[in-house]
């Protein structure tokens, strides 16, 4: 193991037993997932150490497709896997579904993966982790306008084993690390939070050298105290790279998850390959195979290797994200997008690293073309129901005659997914990718590490909430 993990390996002995169980199972499909992990987490707020904790987690699950229905059992006593396996066969056969679920087979994969890391989190002394995050927390509260802060550090190192009845056996020594930094500035009744987060697969180095981020967070929170709210109504909006990324993840990405589509005739007609979704220059991709990024997966939680999937090509719908089940149902290829937040949960169709490809324009040209409008940067949060979306940008500016003016806060953008994509007028050439300790939520599984990104975008007719 890289750097020598300090935890006891609670699953190594179970793998051989699991192999016998899955290969001997006479159901359509069986898989076992096992994991053993250790994580350290530090949360500082203002002058306080809110928590500094460290814990070990062990777990496993069995998923069986039997007579066209799924049974799933999760547990934290892997040594009892035989009885859990039997129980899973039992519950999956207690029901005879009228419509049978079928899944797409995949080749047997026998591999081991490691997260490359420079400073493995398991070998970094607690003292060093504490002192790094304390340093950031000091920067976060450097202005007298800052009322309070929160600086969070988290790492998880885990060993994951995946086995299925097709003969796949994959092990993965995984390391994830990240920080989240926020300052809350206050001036009388005005309270203004601002935060940023960085995370990815790798070692302690991901969290190091982020002083500039901390400075930016503190400064932005303080600057926002004097910012104004934009007028409500319809505006031309220039979205920065982060907002462009969140937009494509929230507004379009979820629609391309095939589990929303595969059994819905009407949605299938709307999401037909070749339909125009955006302007000619719009290209959108999802790829789990980009190392380091928060959405990196060497294989998905159904043992499928990740593909680069072109979701939109030249403005036309050109692909979607699949699990084995949705791929089979729709007669398309698997893409390696079945993911779960942990072994105790069932894999569902999820994004990985989702982004808009660069277009031809630089930021200056886009601002010039915008004329009068709103520049919206970063994001606080967002939500979509596959037709409408709402999200709040971190901060922004008025654009007047192509130049940035007054600072804005509380920019809430909302709209219809389909018309807003078609309303993209210009695509920048300065794409950036973003991860963070938060993540994506779906089907009660949150947070799942993902990353997203894009270049600057000019979008017309965006509904902004606020007084007229």
């Amino acid at each position: 193991m890289p750097g020598g993990m300090p935890m006891r390996d609670g699953i190594g002995d179970i793998v051989a037993l699991a192999r016998t169980l899955v290969t001997g199972c006479r159901c359509e499909y069986a898989e076992v997932r096992l994991s053993s992990s250790r994580g350290d987490s530090i949360s500082l707020t203002g002058e306080q150490v809110e928590s500094f904790s460290s814990g070990d987690t062990i777990g496993g699950s069995v998923r069986i497709l039997n007579n066209g229905s799924w049974g799933f059992v999760s547990f934290n006593d892997p040594e009892a896997i035989e009885s859990h396996f039997r129980r899973c066969i039992e519950i999956s056969s207690s029901i005879g579904g009228r419509d049978r679920t079928r899944i797409r087979p995949y080749r047997a994969v026998k591999r081991h993966f490691d997260t490359p890391s420079q400073k493995h989190a398991g070998t970094v002394p607690l003292e060093e982790k504490f002192s790094l995050i304390s340093g950031y927390n000091r920067i976060l509260k450097s202005s007298p306008l800052v009322q309070t802060t929160r600086a969070t550090y988290r790492d998880v190192v885990s060993r994951y084993a995946y086995l299925n009845s097709e003969g796949s056996e994959i092990t993965y020594d995984r390391a994830y690390c990240g920080i989240s930094l926020s300052s809350i500035a206050r001036d009388g009744a005005v309270i203004q939070p601002y935060s940023e987060s960085v995370s990815g697969y790798g070692g302690f180095e991901i969290a190091e050298g982020r002083e500039e981020t901390a400075e930016r967070v503190a400064k932005t929170a303080c600057d926002l105290l004097k910012a104004e709210s934009p007028a409500g109504g319809t505006h031309r909006v220039v979205a920065d790279q982060k907002l462009a990324g969140v937009f494509i993840h929230e507004a379009f990405g979820h629609l391309s998850e095939a589990d929303f589509v595969h059994e819905n005739e009407r949605l299938k007609k709307m999401m037909v390959i070749g339909r125009q979704f955006g302007p000619d220059g719009l290209n959108v991709l999802d790829s789990g195979s980009l190392p380091g990024l928060a959405g990196y997966i060497p294989f998905d939680d159904e043992g499928v290797l990740p593909e680069e999937t072109r979701l939109i090509k030249g403005g036309l719908l050109s692909g979607r994200l699949h699990s084995r089940e949705t791929a089979e149902k729709m007669g398309e290829e698997t893409t390696g997008n079945a993911r779960a937040i942990g072994v105790a949960r069932q894999p569902i169709v999820r994004m990985t690293n989702t982004y808009i490809e660069n277009g031809p324009h630089n930021r200056e040209e886009i601002l010039q073309a915008a004329g009068d409008g709103i520049y919206a940067a970063g994001v606080i949060g967002g939500e979509t129901n596959l037709e409408m979306f709402t999200f709040t940008s971190g901060y922004g500016y008025q654009i007047k005659h192509g130049r940035l003016g007054t600072m804005y806060r509380d920019i809430v953008l909302s709209g219809n997914v389909f018309t807003t994509l078609l309303n993209i007028e210009m695509i920048g050439n300065d794409r950036l990718m973003f991860g963070g300790l938060g993540g994506c939520g779906k089907g009660g599984q949150s947070p799942l590490p993902v990353s997203f990104g894009g270049p600057h975008l000019l979008i017309k007719d965006v509904l902004i909430g606020g007084a007229q």
């Binding site: 928590s51 814990g55 799933f72 999760s74 899973c88 606080i380 409408m388 809430v412 909302s414 606020g466």
Partner: protein, 430 residues
């Protein structure tokens, strides 16, 4: 197993507590109108908190074989902990259990049959709809052991049914109606089904309304959601951090006198009730807002000490985290106006069932801005259709300080018991 950890810590720590949580659940999931999967989950976890020389350390595990290691690590981590001078309780108080033995009547086959009947009834009315339905049974036990002599535990049971129905119309617009019902034992959820079909029916026609300030009625579901903007400021942790807008306003009238808000850990038939919190503190009913006046804040032991509040059993945690102040059941007292008369009195207004994106704004100051996922236009006292692609943006604290009307009827939505709330003038962007 806990006894081993106790022995290890005794005499080495100023105080300690150990939490053990174990449970199992059986979620049955229907997706796209048909049975998709049956799941069984089992988990047990332990968390240990120690105070050494006044500093607190914490560690957790769900691996029974790693308990010794866990205790050692908590001791080690206390070196970096904050100075905390509160004491642990010695008595967890009188007991009741949020547990109903009837949870054992949960039967997978009959639940599947009832779910299939529900889906068939919705499809009979809207043949093009897709229904996702989830039913879940769970039982759990919590145990707290501490160095002041507490060794207390209780069982809990939880049954939940959730239905989400989506109908896509010819023009591509989407109607999504959803709801959840929960209790301590299996429930009949036909009423929830009828509410959902009723909500879809009323949304089949789309209406437009001009932007401006309009009367808004929040359904119990929408009210339960939006009240979170208020309750987050009634949390002792936000008060201590100086980010609660109510920090210096204890005793002052902040809202209209129609608003009374309680935390009630002993509510009947609610799976969100409990006899004592995760620090072993007896859980008692408390009034947070009394006729518009801020009375107190919910707190855990740490913030009770820091702010001079009485701890009333709001320290909650999973085994893998330290306690933090959290609500049990939130109760909004009812008004006297019947819901129908409230709507009949509106010439032109909006009835909100479901927001989308609420809480993404800077809600510390009461500001909110949200799209309306499911909302209706009220014209001359009648609901005439759905409004969509529109937003409500305003300041909730200002709205609740002004004229408000609460209905006599209430519903428990998750852990919030809420009436319909009428706000006479809210900023609407269409």
């Amino acid at each position: 197993m806990i006894e081993r950890v106790q022995d290890r810590l005794s005499g080495r720590a100023r105080w300690f507590d150990i939490i053990e949580v174990s449970g199992s659940s059986t979620p049955i999931s229907f997706k796209n109108n048909r049975l998709h999967s049956i799941t069984e989950r089992h988990n047990t976890g332990f968390g240990v908190r120690v105070n050494v020389d006044g500093r607190t350390g914490f560690s957790y595990t769900n691996d029974g074989a790693a308990l010794d290691d866990m205790a050692g690590r908590a001791m080690e981590l206390s070196t970096w902990g904050d100075r905390e001078d509160f004491e642990l309780p010695a008595e967890a108080g009188t007991h009741f259990e949020p547990y109903d033995g009837a949870i054992d009547s949960f039967d997978v086959k009959s639940e599947i049959a009832a779910a299939e009947e529900t889906i068939a009834a919705i499809l009979a009315r809207f043949p093009g709809a897709t229904v996702d339905l989830g039913i879940s049974r769970s039982t759990a036990s919590s145990r707290i052991v501490n160095s002041s002599g507490i060794d207390a535990s209780y069982r809990s049971s939880h049954y939940a049914a959730s239905i989400g129905a989506t109908l896509i119309l010819d023009d591509g617009s989407r109607i999504e109606a959803a709801g959840t019902l929960s209790g301590l034992a299996p429930l009949d959820y036909r009423e929830l089904r009828d509410e959902i079909t009723g909500n879809i029916e009323a949304a089949l026609t789309t209406r437009k309304s001009p932007s401006g300030r309009v009367p808004v009625v929040l359904s119990p579901r929408a009210a339960a959601r939006i009240i979170g903007i208020v309750t987050s400021g009634l949390n002792a942790k936000s008060v201590y951090r100086g980010i609660s807008p109510f920090a210096e306003r204890r005793g002052s009238a902040v809202f209209n006198s129609a608003l009374t808000l309680r935390d009630d850990p002993s509510m009947d038939s609610s799976p969100f009730s409990y006899p004592f919190d995760d620090e072993g503190v007896p859980a008692v009913k408390k009034r947070l807002v009394n006729r518009g006046v801020i009375e107190t804040f919910i707190t855990d032991l740490k913030h009770a000490k820091k702010l001079g509040l009485a701890a009333g059993g709001n320290g909650q945690r999973s085994y893998a985290s330290l306690p933090y102040p959290s609500f049990s059941n939130i109760v909004i007292d009812p008004g006297i106006e019947p819901r129908n008369r409230m709507i009949e009195g509106i010439e032109r207004g909006i009835l909100v069932e479901q927001f989308i994106g609420l809480g993404q704004s800077n809600t510390l100051t009461g500001d909110f801005s949200a799209n309306l996922e499911l909302a209706y236009l009220i014209e001359n006292g009648t609901i005439t259709g759905r409004v969509k692609d529109c937003m409500l943006s305003d300041n909730l604290f200002h709205l609740l300080a002004g004229e408000i009307v609460l209905s006599a009827e209430r519903k428990r939505i998750g852990s919030v018991l809420a009436p319909y709330i009428m706000l006479p003038a809210v900023n609407y962007t269409g």
